[in-house]
């Protein structure tokens, strides 16, 4: 980006025709060619696998869908069906609700962990070790990590058994598994580390003498946290929030395996519709999901200007 800007601004300064073949002008042209050459693979990749498919998805969402076939006659039928069906609007709302709860949960659980690793542990070896421990669960497959919650949360699972044995409850708690609760638990556990990482990084960059200076001026722990530590870690919170948001909004597997089909996210609808070859309708859901993600990220970037902070 910067290279391209430099190259183009360079060209405008050599606009005098007579000097077009001077060594300086030749060097400018060579640099501009090199800049384009370096940019080309990235741009090509994004156009082929991002821009074109996005346009296709929007286009296909207006195609005519019959029970057994789809043909490129433009119609708004799929959009009307989506926007008038309470099922789909409910699942849109469920997606947003689950995203919001998981985002808050990963932040509330992840921040203290990051605080510990990034700020209290000052030995970099210990820091790295603790961060590696956080990613150890990723050595097993995503589905196994989700399904592992079943023996924990089930009617005869670990939590119910322990609570029954301690006589804290008479009957097994049924809301634990195959409910929205189990989806929230599963997602929070899986995505928490994406919140911990960026926040830890920002916290570990805080100069310890800044915190000492605040103490020296009489500030107690909470004031130091609210006025110094939290503001300085906000870029990390934002990056973590973007990671978690993008992944949770596009989720379907956790809901599919832990909700007992009670929670239908937009991701689940897309999977089902594609499975039954309803491409146009799946595209509508895809476009809606994309819009939500863009809105969420734009809103997050509004809160903290990451480019300015880092």
């Amino acid at each position: 980006m910067e290279i391209a800007e430099k190259a183009s601004s360079g060209v405008s300064t050599v606009s005098v025709r007579a000097s077009a073949d001077s060594p300086a002008a030749r060097r400018q042209r060579r640099e501009r060619r090199r800049a384009y050459f370096l940019l080309a693979p990235g741009v090509l990749w994004m156009v082929l696998f991002m821009v074109v498919p996005m346009i296709m998805v929007v286009y296909v969402s207006f195609w005519t869908q019959t029970t057994f076939a789809i043909h490129p006659t433009i119609t708004t039928d799929s959009w009307v069906r989506f926007l008038t069906s309470s099922t789909y609007l409910t699942s849109t709302w469920t997606t947003i609700r689950i995203w919001a709860i998981v985002l808050v949960a990963t932040l509330v659980i992840g921040y203290p962990v990051a605080l510990f690793i990034g700020l209290l542990v000052r030995n970099t070896t210990v820091q790295t070790t603790l961060l590696i421990l956080c990613i150890i669960p990723f050595w097993t497959s995503f589905l196994i990590r989700i399904i592992a919650w079943r023996p924990m949360l089930g009617t005869q699972g670990a939590i119910n058994t322990i609570l029954l044995d301690l006589h804290l409850i008479d009957h097994p708690l049924r809301f634990l598994l195959f409910s929205e609760f189990s989806v929230l638990v599963g997602m929070t556990q899986i995505y928490c580390v994406f919140m911990v990482g960026p926040i830890t990084f920002m916290l570990s960059r805080i100069d310890p003498s800044i915190i000492e200076a605040a103490r020296d001026l009489g500030a107690g722990f909470w004031r130091i946290f609210w006025k110094i530590i939290l503001p300085l870690s906000l870029p990390g919170v934002m990056v973590g929030s973007i990671f978690v948001s993008v992944m949770v909004l596009g989720e379907f597997a956790t809901a599919a395996s832990l909700s007992g089909r009670k929670v239908n996210l937009l991701g689940n609808i897309i999977v089902t519709q594609v499975g039954s070859l309803k491409w146009a309708f799946a595209s509508v859901a895809g476009v809606v999901l994309t819009i939500i993600i863009v809105v969420v990220i734009t809103a997050l970037l509004r809160v903290v200007n990451i480019r300015k902070e880092v």
Partner: protein, 365 residues
């Protein structure tokens, strides 16, 4: 009993792994005094400063501020302000917010806080920068903000950790003068840490020279310079030549030791027993140099003979290294005004001598 602003009594600092950072530190600081902790890196001077601020716990002993034992009081409740070497400004706040932080902590009403912040910004010439983010400012400006932030809360003692270390040489001289004036104006006690003897000698009322966690000497700058009490101080301060000797003898107010180059006569800076091993400390600028001739100094007192090993001139000072033989070299500084001396070249035989009142006899290290 007089009230000291700051008193350290038998303060020791031992880390859990057994290493001793500071031991038997005793110091009384009078109100309004400017005290420097001077020593090489790792001598424990910064640790001592951090113990006074409360950032390091003390292993034994007591720290008193205005006769109140603060040994177990956390840094946020001690009446001290610390100026950090890297200034430790809050990077996400502007100049005004940085300076006002300590007053906000005290829950001072906004109007009063703004008045105080405005006054101190005016005093430090920072008013123009009030709304600027601190990370875009120069080293000298950041230094002033750090001072303003530390002083606006009206501490009883200001602690400065190498306050001039991060500045370039010219700015260092300017800020050094400002610090001196500021301290005189405010009249509060300053304790500052440095490894540069010129800063300590130029700024402070008293200097605490530290080495390996122990106090070597506490003196006023002039006395420290002219009458070192240990071999370490003699090497660390000024440019002295030391000659080791034995058989210390006294004669009136003078003392003399037998060195490899004859008896050297001077003054003892600290009580010693006759016959002890001792060391003669000869300041480079106190030595007179002359072309070698037997009649130069009739008394023959404190006279050394050798050949010029190196010579160069920096501005008005001519530096000579005189090789006495046997691996001993003495440093001599003279004025370049003396054309006769400046005509001497490398290899010339010369003799140097020094009046007894300028030589200090210290215990052998």
């Amino acid at each position: 009993m007089t009230i000291h602003d700051l008193e350290l009594i038998d303060v020791c600092k031992t880390y859990p792994d057994g290493t001793t950072a500071v031991s038997d530190f005793n110091l009384q600081v009078e109100p309004g005094e400017f005290v420097a902790f001077l020593g090489p890196s790792g001598c424990g001077k910064t640790t001592t400063l951090r113990m006074i601020a409360g950032f390091e716990s003390i292993s034994s002993g007591r720290i008193m501020i205005k006769s109140k034992d603060v040994s177990n009081i956390p840094p946020e409740r001690r009446p001290t302000s610390m100026i950090f070497q890297n200034y430790a400004l809050f990077p996400h706040m502007n100049v005004r917010e940085n300076i006002g932080f300590g007053l906000d902590v005290k829950k001072m009403p906004a109007a009063e806080r703004d008045r105080k912040v405005d006054r101190i910004m005016d005093m430090f010439g920072l008013s123009e920068l009030a709304e600027r983010k601190v990370d875009r400012l120069s080293g000298g400006q950041r230094q002033r903000i750090a001072l303003a932030r530390g002083l606006v809360v009206e501490p009883q003692i200001l602690l400065l950790d190498e306050p001039l270390g991060a500045l370039d040489a010219n700015l260092r001289r300017v800020i050094q003068n400002e610090l001196k004036l500021l301290q005189r104006e405010l009249g509060i006690t300053f304790v500052f840490v440095t490894h540069a003897q010129s800063e300590a000698l130029g700024l402070s009322d008293r200097i605490v020279v530290m080495n390996s966690g122990r106090i070597e000497q506490i003196s006023r700058p002039h006395e420290l310079y002219t009458r070192p009490r240990t071999a370490f101080v003699a090497h660390f301060i000024g440019s002295n030549t030391t000659l080791a000797g034995s058989d210390l003898a006294f004669e009136g107010e003078n003392a003399s030791v037998q060195t490899a180059f004859g008896r050297m006569t001077g003054r003892c800076s600290t009580p010693m027993a006759a016959g002890a091993q001792a060391m003669a400390v000869i300041p480079a600028e106190a030595m007179r140099i002359s072309a070698a001739s037997p009649k130069a100094v009739p008394t023959g007192q404190n006279q050394l003979h050798g050949r010029i090993h190196m010579r160069h001139a920096v501005g008005s000072i001519g530096h000579f290294k005189i090789d006495l033989g046997g691996g001993h070299v003495v440093d001599v500084e003279t004025s370049t005004d003396n054309k006769h001396l400046m005509a001497l070249t490398v290899g010339d035989a010369v003799s140097v001598d020094c009046p007894p009142e300028r030589i200090t006899i210290v215990p052998a290290s």
